[in-house]
């Protein structure tokens, strides 16, 4: 039987555990298919780890085992010092990786591994300062995108030298108001666009953005701002305006500013929003 047929057998729903054990001890490609199986037992995962840990040909098996939910903490701790970066990256992302191992991986030489630590659902408190100050922007960006990032961390990230990191902080619901206010003066359009779309951006920051956007429509505002990564120079200013209009917390006086612009399409859109607000207010019962 060829390798492809054995791989199919290893992935087949009806294959017995005894047969999976045999297949796992055979060719590396077939063993990898066994290692990635849904519902693999911890015992079979361990057998595979024992069989392939010292075999360079089985690097694919180890990468798969390092991401397999059935792999136990002891093996994950061993895989964490493996020379292969992808193995360590998978360990860094694994839920069952022991905390001391995660702490060690936070100082890994590979940025992709440190990023995987930063993107974990739970990051050990002790490694947070190092990750916030990591030399690789992708690691700090992962910290800024964490749903569980706290205001203290986001305050630091809002002052990051990298605009993408600041933009992620500007978009985060946990970023403190004063940090968002500071970001309203950011020289980067990417940051302003993120800020405009954040439902928790304070009114003064929304006001500053609205005025800048209105000036921009008249060809005066947002000048000198930089747009990293944007292929369409007009895209981000428009995105800022769109985000502001879609932001349900944009105060009515600011919406009136848009309604008074020379851009007829925008003015009509703002006027419609104003009308809708007025109708909503009219139908609300005082209580």
């Amino acid at each position: 039987m060829g390798t492809a047929a054995l791989v199919r057998e290893a992935r087949r729903v009806g294959t017995t555990v005894a047969r999976l054990r045999e297949l796992g001890a055979g060719e590396p490609e077939v063993a990898r298919a066994v290692a990635g199986r849904i519902g693999l037992t911890a015992a079979l995962a361990e057998e595979l780890a024992v069989r392939w840990a010292g075999d360079h040909a089985g690097i694919g098996v180890l990468r798969t085992l390092a991401a397999q939910p059935a792999t136990g903490p002891e093996w994950l701790a061993l895989f964490a010092v493996h020379p292969d970066e992808q193995v360590r990256r998978a360990v860094a992302a694994h839920r069952a990786t022991p905390k001391p191992t995660v702490r060690a991986l936070a100082a890994d030489s590979a940025a992709t591994v440190r990023r995987a630590v930063a993107a974990r659902e739970r990051v050990p408190r002790r490694v947070v300062p190092a990750l916030l100050d990591d030399p690789a922007a992708e690691v700090r960006l992962a910290m800024a995108r964490r749903p569980g990032a706290d205001p203290t961390q986001l305050r630091v990230l809002a002052a990051d030298p990298d605009p993408e990191v600041r933009a992620a902080a500007a978009a985060h619901r946990h970023t403190p108001g004063e940090a968002l206010l500071t970001l309203a003066g950011d020289p980067d359009l990417l940051v302003l666009a993120a800020l405009a779309g954040n439902r928790f951006t304070p009114e003064p920051a929304l006001g500053a953005l609205t005025e800048a956007a209105c000036r921009g429509l008249a060809g005066r505002g947002l000048a000198g701002r930089t747009e990293p990564g944007s292929s369409d120079p007009g895209q981000l200013p428009r995105q800022i305006v769109d985000s502001l209009l879609e932001n349900g917390r944009l105060p009515t006086p600011l919406l009136e500013l848009f309604a008074a612009t020379e851009d007829r399409g925008l003015a009509a859109r703002a006027a419609l929003l104003l009308k809708a607000r007025a109708e909503r207010a009219g139908t609300e019962h005082p209580c």
Partner: protein
């Protein structure tokens, strides 16, 4: 149940769009509520069922193989490689798209609508999306528990088989979300 957006720190945001990218293989250790637009540049393995219409409408592009326990989709799923499902692949809704470049392996394949493009591999039963045959429906009835059919549980109590029709999407989803079996015979992951 894990929500994909809760893992967004693991992904890169594609410039100027709402799409996210994961470079390399991605392994999800539990059931997945897929609520964002995501490209996986590698294989995606979900150690549970994948539902793309719980918290939000999910869009999924997998540039390698997609392996799941079960897939219930109302959004769009594009897989460049093979799609392996230990249980069911169930598509529903008029806007559902299922495109698989390789083969689809599943115990039961129940695509929906006209936007399904794939080649069946090892499939226990396939119910045609447009005109399911009686043979297909009978095979499905032998495979699925009666409770996935509307009125199936009551008919089973009365000693009658379910009506010859597609399993109910609502019931399939409900059973997956509550961890109840879809099939009469347990899958290998339930016996391992």
């Amino acid at each position: 149940m894990l929500t994909t957006s809760a893992w967004r720190a693991r992904f890169d945001r594609l410039s100027g769009s709402d799409w996210y990218l994961h470079a390399g293989d991605l392994v999800v250790p539990e059931d997945l509520d897929h609520d964002i637009a995501l490209v996986v540049d590698g294989d995606l393995t979900v150690h549970g069922f994948l539902d793309d219409h719980v918290s939000g409408a999910g869009l999924l592009v997998v540039l390698g193989d997609l392996t799941v326990r079960d897939l219930v989709s109302r959004g769009s799923v594009h897989v460049t490689g093979d799609l392996h499902a230990e249980g069911v692949v169930y598509g529903y809704g008029g806007e559902h798209v299922l495109e698989v470049g390789g083969l689809v392996h599943a115990r039961a394949l129940v695509p929906a609508g006209r936007s399904a493009a794939y080649r069946p591999g090892e499939v226990g039963v396939e119910i045609d999306s447009q005109r399911p045959t009686k043979v297909q429906l009978r095979s499905a009835r032998r495979l699925f528990v009666p409770q996935v059919y509307d009125g199936g549980a009551r008919r089973a109590r009365e000693g009658r088989p379910p009506k010859l029709e597609r399993p109910s999407c609502r019931r399939v989803r409900a059973r997956l979300h509550t961890g109840k079996p879809l099939f009469r015979e347990p899958a290998i992951h339930e016996t391992l």
